[in-house]
């Protein structure tokens, strides 16, 4: 149980509930519960949004009633007022942590409290525990056929209906960067450790707590590594994986743009590695299952991804029949399926349990198909 005397108590007079809720999560996560909101009289510091209406009066009241209290002013513009610390809006995690450190130091100077060990190295806390995702949203990229070709760089011109070409339709994920990332994810999540995958170019760091990866490379360069099998050494070893020390994590560049969601990253890698092929071992003519819809709003999506997902999640079908039913290139279906397999969402249907959850009776679709098509067309064009 936390030593109550080591907890920094902050009042938030007049702060709106939404902001308070966000800050509570921040206090719970990066601050590991060493900071809590408290009633006015118990708090040693206060957060005031000075840009809000009535804030000046509130500040005067706080300073008059609690002259020893450290006041943190949230504002878009710089504030230089005695007895206050300015925190720029919109609030950034590192800045908030810095300000909280400053508040503690000032309180310690005036009231001689013990600083909790955890708060002494806030950076470590942020990186070792769940870090609230502050990356800009990466909304889905829906690719049309040309866009997908550009995204992949190349699309194999293979006819799965031609049995002589069937072998060329497959790829082995384990031989590609995709496979190494899959294994590293599993390892990081099982061991609850931050891991580094040492590639021939930049390292990739896996943060299992926040389910993110860190990588300092653009997509074009990354794609080049993904589309060819990983070179192995003479003893058959491919890429190495090593745990990361806290010191190494601290020293790393934590620019938000270098972080990506684990699932979205692996999905992308699998699309590149597959290049429109299916994973080895899958029988193209036998049913496959899709356990659930992938999180398509956050992924790069091949053409017809939504239709493919909708059809595949309905009931197990063969990949070939999905392509035929949707009248689309099998390469798109294979790419989608390969990416879904990489996330553990799809596979060959072998067991009753592979069938999706029972669905209610299908509604009369054909009745309003024209209307639905018009809505769809509108949404896709706007």
């Amino acid at each position: 149980m936390q030593n109550q005397s080591k907890i920094l108590k902050i009042a938030a007079p007049a702060l709106d509930e939404r902001m308070k809720r966000t800050l509570r999560l921040f206090f719970l996560g990066p601050c590991q519960n060493t900071v809590v909101f408290a009633e006015n009289s118990a708090a040693r510091a206060a957060l005031i949004d000075i840009d809000a209406i009535g804030a000046e009066a509130l500040l005067n009241e706080q300073q008059a009633t609690y002259p020893q209290r450290i006041i943190v002013l949230l504002s878009l513009t710089e504030q230089q007022r005695p007895g206050t610390i300015w925190l720029k809006k919109p609030v950034q995690i590192q800045e908030m942590l810095r300000v909280l450190d400053t508040v503690r130091r000032q309180i310690a100077d005036t009231m001689a409290i013990d600083e909790p060990a955890a708060a002494a190295e806030p950076t470590k806390i942020v990186l070792a525990a769940d870090r609230p995702r502050r990356r800009a949203h990466e909304t889905a990229l829906l690719l049309d056929e040309q866009g997908f070709g550009n995204f992949l760089g190349t699309l194999p011109d293979v006819d799965p209906y031609n049995t002589e070409q069937r072998d060329a339709v497959y790829y082995d994920p384990k031989r590609y960067l995709q496979g190494y990332i899959q294994a590293a994810y599993k390892h990081a999540l099982q061991q609850d450790r931050i891991l580094r995958i040492n590639t021939s170019a930049q390292p990739i760091i896996v943060f299992p707590h926040s389910r993110e990866i860190w990588i300092d490379i653009n997509d074009d360069d990354l794609r080049e590594q993904c589309v060819i099998p990983v070179q192995t050494s003479r003893n058959g070893a491919g890429l190495t994986v090593s745990p990361l020390s806290t010191e190494e994590v601290r020293k790393a560049d934590h620019s938000l743009e270098k972080f990506q969601g684990m699932e979205a990253f692996l999905w992308k890698l699998a699309l590149w590695a597959s290049s429109g092929r299916a994973p080895e071992g899958i029988d193209l003519d036998q049913p496959v299952y899709l356990r659930r819809w992938p999180n398509l709003t956050r992924f790069v999506n091949p053409p017809h991804a939504l239709r493919i997902a909708a059809l595949m999640v309905e009931q197990p079908r063969s990949l070939i029949s999905v392509a035929e039913r949707l009248n689309t290139s099998p390469a798109y279906v294979f790419a989608f399926f390969s990416a879904a397999c990489a996330l553990g969402l799809a596979g060959q249907a072998k067991r009753r349990i592979d069938h999706p959850a029972p669905r209610p009776e299908s509604p009369p679709r054909r009745k309003h198909q024209g209307m639905l098509s018009r809505i769809l067309g509108y949404l896709r064009r706007h």
Partner: protein, 179 residues
């Protein structure tokens, strides 16, 4: 009966107003609807605020976007709203204390409508609170006998809301083609 509504529902603060605002062709309005339920003891002058937006399709067709009043005490309105609906968009706030309870409540409340149409689920605020994860939502939904699309969405982002609605349409008919 006109088949030209998409219903947005979810608890207060989940992003219904914002989502409708993102996708609507007109500035959404908060309509005041008379709460004229005859089965409960209410004043006939009670009004309920609802969000309303519209998609203006070519040819003059309009698709009406309705946001249900979030407070559960107005649930008697929900049946009226869903009449003629194409499907349901359920938005859930991942920072709420018990989003699974929220999901269960709304899926059960709209069970009849969902079984006649379809539902899609958008989980908001995942950048602030990444847990529960989408995987965990699916487990909960499947325990209720459903396997709908469940996506992370930012209700402010038009593309997210658009994808959610598109997945609703494809859930109704995977063979749909746009026109």
């Amino acid at each position: 009966m006109n088949y030209n509504k998409i219903i947005f529902t979810g608890p207060v603060g989940a992003g219904k107003t914002t989502a409708i605002s993102s996708i609507s062709d007109v500035t959404p309005v908060k309509t005041d609807a008379l709460a004229s339920d005859m089965t409960k003891q209410r004043k006939p002058s009670t009004t309920v605020a609802m969000d309303y937006g519209v998609l203006n399709l070519p040819g003059g067709e309009k698709i009406h976007l309705y946001g249900t009043p979030g407070q559960e005490r107005f649930d008697f309105m929900w049946d009226i709203l869903t009449s003629g609906g194409i499907g349901l968009v359920l938005l859930l706030d991942n920072t709420r204390a018990n989003p699974f309870q929220d999901m269960k409540f709304f899926l059960e409340t709209f069970e009849t409508f969902i079984s006649a149409t379809r539902v899609v689920i958008g989980v908001t605020q995942t950048d602030i609170s990444p847990r529960p994860t989408i995987d965990e939502y699916y487990l909960q939904a499947q325990a209720l006998g459903l396997n709908p699309p469940i996506f992370e969405v930012d209700a402010r982002v038009k593309k997210d809301v658009s994808l959610l609605i598109q997945s609703l349409l494809y859930s109704l008919d995977p063979n749909l083609e746009d026109t």
